[in-house]
Every structure is written in C-alpha cells, then in structure tokens.
C-alpha cells in the first residue's frame, strides 16, 4: 500500500478538528486493544487477583507457571503443533496445486479453460456448512476421519478457489516473453514451470498463502466435526476443550489463549502490510 497523504478536508479549523479526531481514534484503538491487554494481564495472575481488587492492573505476582501448565499438561503445545502441521501442509499443497492450476488455466490454450476457471470461482461462495455432512461421510468411508489427512483434505480443497483466483489474476499481468524464450531454448514445461514461473509468482503466492493460512488456522466447524481424538485437535477446538477442563482457573485459561494468539499477532505485526493487503485482496476479488 503506497503512502499517499492527501488532505482533502483541509480547512482553517482543521487543527482543532484533527485533535478531536485523534482523540476519537485513540479511544477506538483502546476499545480494540483493551480486551487483549486484559487477556494478557490476567493470564499472568492468580484467581485471587483476577477476581479480587486487581482486575485491570498489571499482575502483582507474575505467575509464569500458568504458561508452563497450559503448554504441558494443558495440551496447548500439542494443539499448537497440530495447527502448525495442518496449516503448513495445507499451505504447501494448496499453494502448489493452485499455482499449477492457475498456470494451466491462464497460459495453456484449451476449450474448457473459461468454464473450469468459473467453476473454481463459484467455489469461493460455497459455505463450509453446505458440504459438511456429505464430506464427513466421505472422509469416514475413506477411513481417514479423525486423522491428520481427514482434516487436511477439506482444508486444501476449500483453499483452492481463492488461491487460484489470486494467482490467475497475477498471471494475467505477467508478460509471457520469459517463458516463451525458455520454451524456444528447449526447456520442458515442467522444468520451465518450476525454475522460471514459480520464482516469478512468489508475491502472488505469498498473498494467497497468507489468506489460506488465516482461514485454516482459525477454522472451527470442520475441525470440530472431523477430529475427535484430543491429541490431533487444532488450536480452535483444543482451546474449547482446554477451557472446559480448567473452567474456573482463569489465569491458566488466559495463558492458553495467549499462547494460541501471540505468535499470530507477532507474525502479523512483522508482515502487517502483506497481511492487510492479502485479506483485502481476497475480499475485493471475491
């Protein structure tokens, strides 16, 4: 996103107005951030502090032990690793399949290109719940329900349409000269794709991957339905059973939720422009 400051509302009393505006923006920022501040502080407190007189202050006694318990016997580390595996594999497989499909659809001449592209695009609009039960039955029949693969399949499939769209629109703007030169030099289609095309589409692939990652990492309905064994649960589902297990221990629950959240926020802060761009693109294109 290019910085392009243009003060179209510039009038004489803009200084006063913009001070007021600034205050309002700060208040909204506090509303957006305060619940998270509260979460982080209570994750380090004991119930006595959370329920007593230190509701919103910094912890008096920093209980890091909450984190230790949450990670270990609470199982959060396990859920976290699972989520990384599910999202990571989905990202790689969906990224590879969709960049190949987008390349095939955009660059190769074929009768049904347009039709197949449109079918993929319609997929963007299909909500999870409309496929849930038959998918559940199919995955059960295949004998992969309750395992890693049983959840990865729907994740990969649901990541394809958006990913293909983002990559296709990138291919449209990509000049063909480089590939054509490579083909003339006798480069095979496969080698050409992996050695020349793949490096070129990295920015679009990053955009698509961020979108896929966000959707997969936070997904609830499939994960809740297709995984029943505790040791294979993802974070969104794991957090629910974790909360159920330690109902009254708010500090511990808070620690679990911080562990589930903090890495994402850190990644987001480092990549905020890309993340914002990716999610906006997903919306506008969809």
């Amino acid at each position: 996103m290019k910085k392009q400051t243009y003060n179209f509302l510039q009038t004489k009393n803009i200084k006063k107005n913009s001070k007021l505006l600034f205050v309002i923006l700060i208040i909204i920022a506090v509303i957006q951030i305060f619940p998270l501040y509260w979460l982080i502080t209570y994750s380090l407190k004991s119930n006595a502090e959370i329920f007593g007189d230190n509701v919103i202050g910094l912890p008096r006694d920093w209980r890091w032990v909450n984190y230790k318990i949450a990670l270990g016997e609470g199982g959060i580390l396990r859920y976290f690793i699972n989520s990384v595996v599910y999202s990571g594999v989905t990202l790689l497989v969906a990224g590879l399949l969709s960049s190949m499909a987008a390349y095939g659809l955009m660059r190769m001449k074929w009768k049904f290109n347009k039709l197949i592209y449109n079918i993929f695009i319609i997929g963007i609009m299909i909500p999870t719940q409309a496929t849930l039960l038959p998918l559940f039955q199919m995955i059960d029949k295949m004998g992969v329900k309750g395992g890693y693969l049983g959840l990865m399949i729907p994740y990969i499939v649901f990541a394809l349409p958006m990913s293909i769209m983002i990559l296709s629109s990138f291919f449209m703007g990509l000049p063909k000269e480089l590939e054509e030169a490579a083909y003339i030099d006798g480069c095979g289609v496969m080698r050409c794709f992996f050695q020349i095309i793949f490096p070129m589409i990295k920015p679009a692939l990053a955009t698509a991957s961020i979108f896929t990652f966000m959707a997969t990492w936070n997904e609830l309905m499939f994960a809740n339905t297709l995984i029943d064994r505790d040791e294979l649960k993802t974070l969104p589902v794991g957090i629910m059973s974790f909360v159920g297990q330690y109902v009254t221990d708010w500090g511990l629950i808070g620690a679990g939720m911080v562990i589930a959240t903090l890495p994402i926020i850190i990644i987001y802060i480092f990549l905020s422009n890309q993340v914002q761009e990716s999610l906006v693109m997903g919306a506008v294109k969809g």
Binding site: L25, A29, Q129, T131, L133, M138, N218, L235, I264, I265
Partner: protein, 297 residues
C-alpha cells in the same frame, strides 16, 4: 508444433489435480447436501423421499428456525449499520493522512487475525456475571452486588455474540474501504476543492459514489457472513438459553450432529446457501440501480 501437442497433455497434469479434488470434495458434497435435503434420512435407516416437505417444515413446523433466521437478520443489520458505518468513518479519518495512520490501521486490524474461538472465549469472560469486565465496570454505578447474567438471559444472550462479532471485524471493513479510498485519484478531490466543495460534500459527492463497488463488496460480505455465521454463537451460548440465541447454522449443526436429522439438517444447510444467493442477487441489483440513477444525473 510438437510443443503445442505436449501442452495438451500438460493441461491435464496442471489443472486436473486441483480440479478433481475440487469436484470430489466440494462440488459432489454440495450436490449431495441438496439431495439429502429432499429426503427423510437419519443416516442409518432408509432414505424416504420427502420432496420440499423439509423446506416447508422450516417455517411451518420448526419452532426455532424462524427465530434463528430473525437473529441472523438482526446480525446482518448490526453488521451493515454499525460495523460498516464505523468502518467507513474510520477509513475516511485515516485517509486524511492523520498522524499515526499506520499505527491505527495496524491496531484496528489486530482482532481480525485472532481466531474466533479465542475472541469468543475472551468476550465470554468480559460478559461473565461474577468477574467479567463489563459487570466490574457497571458495579461502579449500580452497586457492588450487581451481577446481571448477560450470556444466560434470553434477551441479552444473542446480543453478546453480536457485540463480539462486530468488534472483531470493524478493522477488516475499515481496511477494505481504506484501500478503496486510496485508489481514488487525487484529481477528483483537487477538482472538488477548486469548485469550493466542503469536507462533507466531498465525502457524499466524490468518495461515496466512487467507493460504491467497494461498499457493495463490504455489504455482501457482512450480509452473507451474518446469514451463515456459526462460530460466535456456537462457542458463546450454543444457541441457548432455550434457543434464544440460535442462528440457522447452529440449528443446522445440532440437527446434523446431535440429533441425527440428516435430511432436515441438509435442507437447512441448503436453505442458507439459497438465502445467500438471493440476498447477493438483491444487493447487486440495488447497487446497480443506484449506479444507474447516479450516472443518469
């Protein structure tokens, strides 16, 4: 020439893996849901054809579905009116080039990247009757023994989930609109300035019309997202107390996986899809009409 022939073969290698997966695991299940919706089916016994009886029952027999639908429309209204308006105003403010533009943008967007499970649990804690932030705050005015139970009172349970959802996604819509505003050419604003337009006129006469496609996208997202919303209600209230906060998607989920009503639940799932398509169609028409009217002037 040989190359070209090769390409035909490669089309399959490149396009087919993704397409096959898509057809088998998305298109086929979608069609099956549509078929199940026309049957009485509990997953074990025989399927008996019911025609559109399941769809009629949604409104004729089901005591909870119409209420759930009203809830989803309330959510849609709240999203569009509160969320999109706030998002629009914030986008305008940030687009003015205020100090800390990037900071605000980043902060407003933070809730969007957090999983809805965590957000839901966090808001459950905020609404907790004994120790929740909200009641702790309200006790300052209402006395120390105030402990209204937001999540389990029929009249407020659904609103708690609406608040959480609106809170989480304001930053998302803000950013979509902000990006849209950035792509409006500055020349328009310069021309408006020369013509002596004030700030309000600039917004209504330039920003709003030029942003219409982006706003349309946001309205579509907010609307269809609300109609099929599931996570917040499922986690925070699970439709309770006594179905007061149920949404079509949570009813559907419980019918499918708790009560084994495969046929009826599938009809509900398909109904949600229809609903989204119909509303998408209406919104597109409305925006097209508004666009035609505007260009007719």
């Amino acid at each position: 020439m040989n190359k070209l022939m090769n390409r035909k073969r490669y089309i399959f290698i490149f396009v087919m893996p993704a397409f096959l997966l898509f057809v088998v695991f998305m298109a086929v299940p979608l069609i099956m849901t549509g078929i199940y919706g026309l049957f009485d089916y509990d997953g074990i016994g025989k399927m008996s054809f019911a025609g559109i009886q399941n769809y009629i029952n949604l409104f004729a027999k089901d005591r909870h579905f119409p209420h759930a639908m009203v809830n989803s429309l309330i959510l849609a209204a709240a999203s569009i009116v509160i969320q999109l308006t706030l998002a629009f105003l914030l986008a305008i403010a940030l687009n003015k080039g205020i100090k800390g533009e990037k900071f605000f943008r980043t902060v407003y967007f933070i809730p969007v990247v957090i999983s809805t499970t965590v957000i839901s649990q966090l808001w459950m804690k905020i609404f907790n009757s004994d120790y929740g932030l909200l009641n702790v705050f309200l006790r300052l005015f209402k006395g120390a023994d105030y402990n209204f139970s937001w999540l389990t009172t029929p009249s407020t349970a659904f609103m708690t989930t609406v608040v959480a959802g609106v809170w989480q996604y304001i930053g998302y819509y803000m950013l979509i609109m902000y990006a849209g505003m950035k792509s409006i050419s500055p020349e328009y604003y310069e021309a408006a300035k020369i013509d002596g337009a004030n700030g309000f006129q600039t917004i209504t006469k330039i920003t709003l019309p030029l942003l219409a496609p982006v706003i349309e996208t946001c309205v579509l997202f907010a609307l269809t997202g609300s109609l099929r919303s599931f996570d917040f209600v499922y986690i925070m209230t699970n439709g309770g107390p006594n179905h007061a906060s149920d949404l079509p998607a949570t009813l559907m989920y419980n019918n499918l996986f708790r009560r084994g009503l495969y046929g009826y639940g599938s009809a509900q799932a398909f109904f949600i899809v229809f609903e989204c398509l119909i509303f998408t169609f209406i919104i597109k028409k409305l925006f097209k009409k508004a666009d035609d009217n505007a260009s007719g002037i």
